[in-house]
Amino acid sequence: MSFEPKVTAFVCNWCTYTGADLAGTSRLQMASNVRIIRLPCTGRIDPLFLLKAFERGADGLIVSGCHPADCHYNAGNYHARRRFAIFRELLDVVGLDPARITFSWVSASEGNKWREVVDDTVERIRGLGPFTAYRDLTPPAVSGAEGPSATIGGAP
């Protein structure tokens, strides 16, 4: 059976989520490997979400929000940008290939760009193969039946 990458996308509500809506309204066909998690703003994204997603079986991730200067909340995407600039530096420490994460800006009018981000990411992850390093460390996932585990990013 061929490898189908699992990609989780963390997107902001106002730009990228709406851009993905536009891609839908425009009937732009794209790979079906992406699952979107909607957040109000990229500023809301805790880097631990990303590690958690890998731990729970994602092979690749997309993090996408409003373009610089376009943030619905004025500055949330700048905070996200700084946060992920540091996070990228730490990926090596946690055993992650930076190529498994796509950081992008997709505005509400960029349905086409969203499709490109999705297809490019899926193709890249397909080339990289499954990400198993974390799965090997954790017990098998039971679909949605449990709360956040305490291993990574569990709320206190």
Binding site: G24, P40, G57, Y73, G76
Partner: protein, 675 residues
């Protein structure tokens, strides 16, 4: 124990074509916590919504998941349906299986599997949703308008005519702003004061407008609906209650050669003065830097002169008056502080460079646009005669230079000042009307006449009134005996030109008022690199700022002419009146909340909040001893971005509706992907 209902919509064929809705409903029925899962042709239709309402009652649902279109489309619809069935609206969520699934995939199996995954993530989220109540904040239905120029006047009058009280603060001794200095206005050439002064009087007499002239905003606290504003009433040295505006004091003052700010330095005024005859309020003010008595006092000598006090029949001159601080409660603030002209003299504020090559300030006959307005004005220093400042002669040739400072990155200003093309065209006409033999020459970069009747106006200046327009820049101005040599380059003819002018008028750039940054910081509104106040959205929220309850009007936001400023002021007023339409303000409850028990008071949240919504709250024990200082999120100010939550090191701040457990539940739900 969660009791979730899942409702899968076919959206006619839109979802059903590529997603097997029955299979999705069936698969999700087996998901832990789901007690009912059905599919239906049109979930948003009346029967569809009834189906949901019935299920909520029948199965005692604790959460609803509608797998259908984007939440941007119908979230509100289904939340209303939930409310109608007695379920808190924030326990209803949508799984987007149309825009994000059926419309973008053709493979039916893959799309169905994805729809099931999407359903699972939202089910897991909804299990952790908590009932949220709409936040209601009381509104003080009273507005503050900062700036008494035409924009501030218009905003104040519109709000007051709408039935609400207004506090109008003007830093100068009189309201009226720059418009009161203008001679005639484009494109109709109607007299500026004739249309403005009645509005000024209207402000003064309006029962719902409280005017603080010669006053400045000292401090602003609070948030939308609930601002406390401290106003500094600067000492006029004249008792407002006693003065009847007779003017005896100004006549008596022996110190009469002070350059008049109202006449842009071309006329003279005494040390105790009313800025102009139609000033509102008609109250004199003592210029303490120029008054003989105050100069004596500053040198430690005894009081001298006092002629104004002796002349006053009411005993209204008060040399010992002090600044007074008054506080006002308001619910909304309109910023309308207007502009100043870029001075092209050698002395410039930091970051800006002057035009030393144009000799402004050194050659008296090189003046700026506002000074020409005063020369052309019937109330001006020459009574409306065009006379050059150096020797009072009537200039036979005036050269006007446009874009002085504007559109010139080298001078620190990239932007177009918008009004100059028009007022220069007007100046050439006023000049021609007053000096029939005179020749006006204009150096321009581009002619930008984009307004109703504007292009016709500039065409008239050129074609009927004989103004000579030269496309190009001037490299140098210098005095040569009686005349000013103007050296430039005509880019259309492709050759250098030299003109002997009697007078040169520079159309200098519009800049925000000095001190705008300080005011913006007091109000927590953002401003651009030039100091212009930023609007919340350049297209859709042009008169709001990034701080809720603070609005912007006129040239403090960008260079604007009178019609634009007035339109903007009315728009801001309508926003204020809209806010004041209800006694309480309703807000979405998806705001951040602090766990005071675990908050360590590091205040990282305070630093990342773009809205200043985080406050410091003191926790005390029963004896009143301070236990610790923790963060408190003002629900009236928080906009719900959640940046604070991702920043909090102790996980003590939580965005309602997007909590960490909710998002981890979504991530975990993806652990066992169906595909």
């Amino acid at each position: 124990m969660a009791r979730i209902g899942v409702f899968v919509c076919h959206c006619g064929e839109n979802i059903g074509r590529t997603v097997d809705c029955a299979r999705v409903a069936e698969a999700l029925m087996d998901h832990p916590g789901v007690v009912t899962s059905v599919d239906y042709k049109y979930m948003c239709s009346d029967p569809g919504q009834s189906l949901i309402k019935k299920a909520i009652e029948e199965h005692q649902l604790t959460g609803v998941v509608v797998a259908a279109c984007s939440p941007h489309m119908h979230e509100k619809t289904f939340r209303r349906a939930a409310t109608a069935a007695g379920l808190n609206p924030f326990l209803s969520e949508m799984a987007n299986v149309r825009e994000h699934c059926s419309w973008i995939h053709e493979d039916r199996d893959a799309a169905t599997a994805k729809a099931i995954d999407i359903g699972r993530t939202i089910i897991e989220k909804v299990k952790l949703n908590t009932p949220l109540e709409t936040i209601r904040i009381p509104v003080t239905r009273r507005a503050l308008v900062i700036g008494g120029g035409i924009a501030g006047i218009q905003a104040a009058l519109d709000i007051a005519d709408g039935g609400r009280e207004v506090v109008l603060v003007e830093k100068e001794p009189s309201i009226g702003g720059h418009m009161s200095q203008l001679s005639e206005t484009f494109p109709t050439l109607d007299c500026s004061q004739c249309i403005l002064t009645p509005r000024m009087v209207e402000v003064y007499q309006h029962p719902r407008i409280k005017l603080y002239s010669y006053s400045e905003v000292e401090a602003v606290e609070g948030y939308i609906g609930n601002f406390t504003v401290t106003v500094r009433k600067k000492a006029r040295s004249v008792d407002e209650d006693k003065c009847n505006g007779c003017g005896a004091c100004t006549q008596a003052c022996p110190n009469r050669k002070i350059p008049s700010g109202f006449d842009a330095g071309l006329g003279k005024r005494p040390a105790i003065y009313v800025p102009f005859p139609q000033a509102v309020p008609n109250l004199p003010v003592i210029d303490r830097d120029r008054c003989t008595l105050f100069i004596a006092r500053s040198k430690g000598r005894k009081d001298a002169c006092m002629k104004c006090a002796q002349a006053c029949p009411k005993g209204g001159v008060d040399f010992d008056q002090q600044d007074r601080l008054v506080t006002e409660q308001v619910g909304a603030i309109v910023v309308a502080t207007g502009y100043q002209l870029y001075s092209i003299g050698r002395e410039q504020p930091p970051g800006l460079s002057g035009y030393g090559e144009y000799d402004y300030g050194d050659v008296p006959d090189v003046i700026d646009g506002l000074q020409f307005e005063r020369l052309a004005s019937a109330s001006g220093p020459t009574g409306g005669k065009i006379q050059r400042p150096s020797d009072g002669k009537e200039p036979q040739r005036i050269v006007f230079l446009q874009c002085i400072g504007s559109r010139d990155p080298a001078k620190g200003m990239h932007y177009c000042s918008k009004i100059c093309c028009m007022y220069v065209a007007k100046h050439t006409m006023l000049y021609k009307h007053k000096v029939h033999s005179g020749q006006a020459t204009v150096f321009y970069m581009d002619l930008r006449a984009n307004g109703k009747g504007y292009d016709e106006f500039t065409r008239r200046a050129i074609e009927e009134e004989g103004a000579q327009y030269v496309r190009g820049r001037v490299s140098r101005l210098y005095r040569d005996g009686e005349v000013i040599k103007v050296r430039g380059f005509d880019t259309l003819a492709g050759e250098p030109v030299e003109i002997d002018a009697d007078m040169v008028v520079l159309a200098t750039a519009m800049r925000p008022q000095p001190g705008i940054e300080t005011l913006a910081q007091k109000l927590s509104v953002s401003y651009d690199g030039h100091g212009f106040i930023n609007e919340a959205h350049p297209k859709l929220r042009p008169v709001e700022t990034n701080t809720a309850g603070v609005y912007v009007a006129g040239a403090c936001q960008a260079p604007r002419d009178i019609p634009d400023s007035v339109a903007m002021a009315s728009a801001a007023a309508s926003k204020v009146l809209g806010l004041f339409a209800n006694e309480q303000l309703e807000r979405e409850p998806t705001v951040a909340r602090v766990d005071e028990g675990s908050c360590t008071g590091c205040f990282h949240c305070e630093r990342v909040c773009a809205y200043n919504a985080v406050e410091r709250k003191e926790l005390r024990d029963r004896k009143g001893n301070l236990v610790k200082v923790v963060a408190y999120v003002n629900p009236g100010v928080c906009q719900g971005c959640g940046t604070c939550q991702a920043t909090c090191p102790s996980k003590s701040i939580e965005l309602q509706g997007f909590t960490d457990p909710q998002i981890y539940a979504e991530i975990n739900a993806l652990g066992g992907w169906a595909s």
